[in-house]
């Protein structure tokens, strides 16, 4: 159901961005870029109070009139951002969580591949497949 899915490294440069191609991709890139600020804010806020109990799923970062942005960060500070279309019947939180879970799993697979250097753009077909699966559902 996602319209755009992106993954960022710890240093906040993008490892992977993909959007539904029919729409203006630049808009999504911009949205995702701005959402990084929100992610950083959430990470830093939560981190001080609870320490290790920081939740990986950040939830709704911010909604706009057209779409909603959800965030997720791993323990190694790799961030995933999913942009979903607001016009969709609102996806339940669990569904978004499961999407992030799949992304995270697929990402660790990519990491496990010894031929992948961390920090390289992700070119794994399996990862692409998973992302496509999540995006195709939008139709």
């Amino acid at each position: 159901m996602a319209v755009c899915i992106a993954a960022f490294a710890k240093e906040n440069y993008p490892l992977y961005i993909r959007s539904v191609p029919t729409q203006n991709e630049l808009k999504f890139h911009y949205t995702v870029h701005t959402s990084l600020d929100v992610v950083e804010e959430k990470i830093s806020a939560v981190g001080k109070s609870l320490g290790d109990q920081r939740e990986l799923y950040l939830g709704l970062l911010y909604p706009t009139e057209d779409y909603k942005v959800y965030g997720y960060v791993t323990n190694s500070k790799v961030k995933f951002v999913i942009v979903v279309d607001s016009s969709n019947t609102s996806l339940r939180d669990n569904e978004i969580r499961s999407m992030f879970r799949k992304l995270h799993n697929s990402f660790t697979d990519v990491m496990c591949n010894p031929f992948y250097n961390p920090g390289d753009p992700i070119q794994s077909k399996a990862f692409n497949g998973i992302v496509s699966g999540m995006m195709v559902q939008t139709g």
Binding site: D52, R101, T108, C112, N113, P114, K125
Partner: protein
């Protein structure tokens, strides 16, 4: 007709064009039987006919018409006629003796097509289309050049072929040579029926591109070219050379691993990791496979395909798959998007297939059953896989967590999976739960390195501190219980009636206390009724002594004093108040501060003076009520004690948490760097 065609052995009566002449003689040479020159090996002819992709009944008809059936073997004329009839059938003409004379295009054999077309510059290569799916245009174009060369060498190759075919299906003598020779060989032989002549020619050509070319000789024809192979394959990765497989006659699937290849892979695996049951780490694999000079994205893709359990390391099975994919890629096969099923099962089945080579058993030609035979085997293997895969997936499900698990957990699970795989498998059938691969992938796999390791570590670090306090409890309780049980032995059955329903929290203490109390009280009451106080004194002193003993046994335990306190409280209650006064100060020494409270209630408990016999009933009732009150108070005391202890533990845990958090805060700036 037969006689005519027989007379036309040289092609005189049957008008064979020059193309046909050459083509047929080439094919004829291919099918030469070792023992009977002039007779063609029916097995090879059968394979050739199968490659023509005609339905079995038409093939039978061809056999019949050409006269081989009549003769019982394929002689040269029969063979030529059969070829003609195949051409007729392929162009849609009925299979009849008359059609032999028609002007027909060359019969097409799947894979054999390319050869005549290349050679004779015929129309666009349909063969290339068939093979084009397998390889890109580059190798296809490359294949022309060897073909051109082949045209020149054709007369020579015929002779070569004959000697090549002499040991028709001997499992390769090649292995010693193989490391130098073939790279392209292996998979080629497994490809869908390419003309063996192509194979020959490509083999003779020293071209480097030969490696990439699809020389897929049909598996049937494949075998023997090997010995003739000059080092077509260069050295680029000498270590990659897979052994010359004997032809996998039963199936020309390129993804099947033959026995020689398996053996080669095993040797390579051993060179990296002597223990066949162990894993090769990803870094080691990376170095090794990088030598193959495939581009990194392709190697990355191969890794994704072959590391089925996603643990960052390769088992022997996975290693074989990866190696096989690399060799196939080197030979020009595009990498599949997902693991072909035969690849997983292939190098298992091959060992079955060799004894089961389908053809050549029957006198004439067997068309049908070569293909279906591998399928039941696949199915049986698949069935066998299901239980193992189900167990392995269930294991993974059990260990499934959202966030990745520790290395230890994952390794144990994956090693369990591999052991189940290896046990049934390694000698013959490595079992791969590939059918469950999508399931495995969708389920969260135990991860090699846990991104939540911090959280897990924290949680696990917090767990160990908690157990130590408990044994003290149990130990002390146990001691008190034992004591109680000792004392209870003399108690009458009435005590059960006095047992109040224990409060929710510590049933044990109340139960233990209550019977103890009861027993003591019973004894006390009995003593009171029967004897004066000094009998109680003696009784109580015994209790105190026995109470002191557990205290000595568990020195320093918080609960030791508590049990003693309880004992003392009971004694206080049940015995004469006066008699207990001297005893109390002694006991009080053991009590920790927090338990000073409990001392209060017991002494506060009013102790009813022994009732006069005349007031027995009333006193008894009073006593009963008072005993009940005492019990409640004691349970209250116990509960308060428990509460204080738990509070202390909570403080300790809080302190630990604070220290851990502070440590984490210290580490955080480092981590964020």
């Amino acid at each position: 007709m037969d006689q005519e065609s027989a007379a036309a052995s040289g092609g005189s009566l049957i008008a064979l064009s020059e193309h046909e002449q050459r083509y047929y003689s080439g094919l004829h040479a291919l099918c030469q039987a070792a023992d009977a020159p002039g007779k063609l090996s029916s097995g090879k002819v059968a394979e050739l006919f199968k490659a023509s992709q005609l339905p079995p009944e038409s093939l039978h008809k061809v056999t019949e018409v050409c006269g081989a059936k009549h003769l019982g073997y394929f002689g040269t004329p029969q063979f030529y006629i059969a070829l003609k009839l195949l051409a007729a059938a392929q162009s849609g003409l009925p299979i009849r003796p008359e059609s032999v004379t028609a002007n027909l295009p060359l019969p097409r054999f799947a894979g054999l097509k390319t050869e005549p077309e290349m050679r004779y510059a015929a129309a666009a290569p349909p063969g290339a289309d068939a093979l084009g799916a397998l390889c890109g245009s580059a190798p296809g174009s490359v294949s022309w050049t060897p073909a051109d060369r082949s045209a020149f060498r054709h007369p020579e190759t015929n002779a070569d072929k004959k000697e090549l075919w002499s040991p028709p299906r001997s499992p390769c003598s090649s292995p010693p040579r193989s490391p130098l020779t073939h790279r392209s060989y292996p998979y080629t032989k497994q490809r869908n029926g390419v003309d063996p002549q192509i194979t020959y020619e490509s083999m003779h050509s020293p071209q480097p591109m030969a490696q990439l070319e699809q020389h897929s000789s049909p598996s049937h024809y494949a075998t023997n070219p090997t010995p003739e192979h000059p080092a077509v394959l260069q050295a680029s990765s000498a270590e990659r050379l897979s052994q010359q497989g004997t032809a996998d006659y039963s199936d020309d699937d390129p993804w099947r691993i033959t026995a020689e290849q398996l053996e080669y892979y095993t040797n390579q695996f051993k060179s990296l990791q002597p223990d066949l049951g162990a894993l090769i780490l990803g870094a080691v694999v990376k170095n090794f496979f990088t030598k193959s000079k495939l581009p990194i994205p392709e190697l990355s893709h191969i890794w994704e395909l072959s590391d089925v359990d996603r643990d960052g390391a390769l088992t022997f099975t996975e290693f074989c798959i990866a190696f096989h994919l690399i060799v196939a890629r080197k030979n020009g096969y595009p990498l599949p998007e997902s693991l072909p099923p035969t690849l997983q099962l292939g190098f298992v089945q091959h060992e079955e297939d060799i004894p089961d080579t389908p053809e050549s058993s029957e006198p004439l030609i067997v068309f049908e059953d070569a293909e279906p035979r591998p399928c039941p085997m696949e199915r049986s293997l698949a069935e066998r896989l299901q239980p193992s895969s189900s167990t392995s997936t269930s294991k993974q499900e059990l260990e499934e967590k959202f966030l990745k698990e520790d290395l230890g957990v994952k390794n144990s699970s994956s090693s369990q999976d591999k052991q189940t795989l290896q046990q049934g498998a390694f000698p013959e059938r490595p079992e791969l739960p590939h059918d469950c691969d999508p399931q495995m992938k969708t389920k969260t796999r135990p991860r090699s390195y846990s991104s939540t390791s911090i959280e897990d570590a924290m949680k696990k670090a917090e767990e160990p501190p908690t157990p130590p306090p408990r044994p003290q409890k149990s130990h002390s309780r146990a001691s008190s219980l034992d004591l109680n049980k000792l004392l209870q032995q003399g108690a009458s059955g009435v005590k059960s009636g006095w047992l109040l329903p224990p409060p929710a929290l510590p049933p044990r203490p109340s139960a233990s206390q209550v019977p103890h109390f009861l027993s003591a009280s019973e004894k006390a009451s009995q003593n009171k009724v029967q004897q004066p106080n000094f009998a109680d004194f003696s009784h109580f002193r015994e209790e105190e002594e026995s109470g002191v003993k557990p205290e000595d046994q568990a020195p320093g335990s918080r609960f030791g004093p508590s049990t003693e306190d309880l004992n003392s409280s009971k004694q206080d209650v049940s015995g004469a108040s006066h008699s207990q006064v001297p005893q109390k100060p002694i006991r009080r020494k053991y009590l920790p501060e927090s338990q000073n409270l409990e001392i209060g209630p017991p002494p506060a408990m009013p102790f009813p003076p022994p009732a006069k016999p005349s007031q027995k009933l009333l006193s008894r009732q009073k006593r009963e009520i008072q005993m009940a009150i005492r019990k409640n108070r004691e349970t209250n005391a116990v509960l308060t004690r428990l509460n204080s202890e738990l509070q202390q533990q909570l403080k300790v845990v809080h302190q630990e948490r604070v220290t851990l958090e502070s440590q984490l805060e210290l580490l955080r700036p480092l981590a964020s760097m």
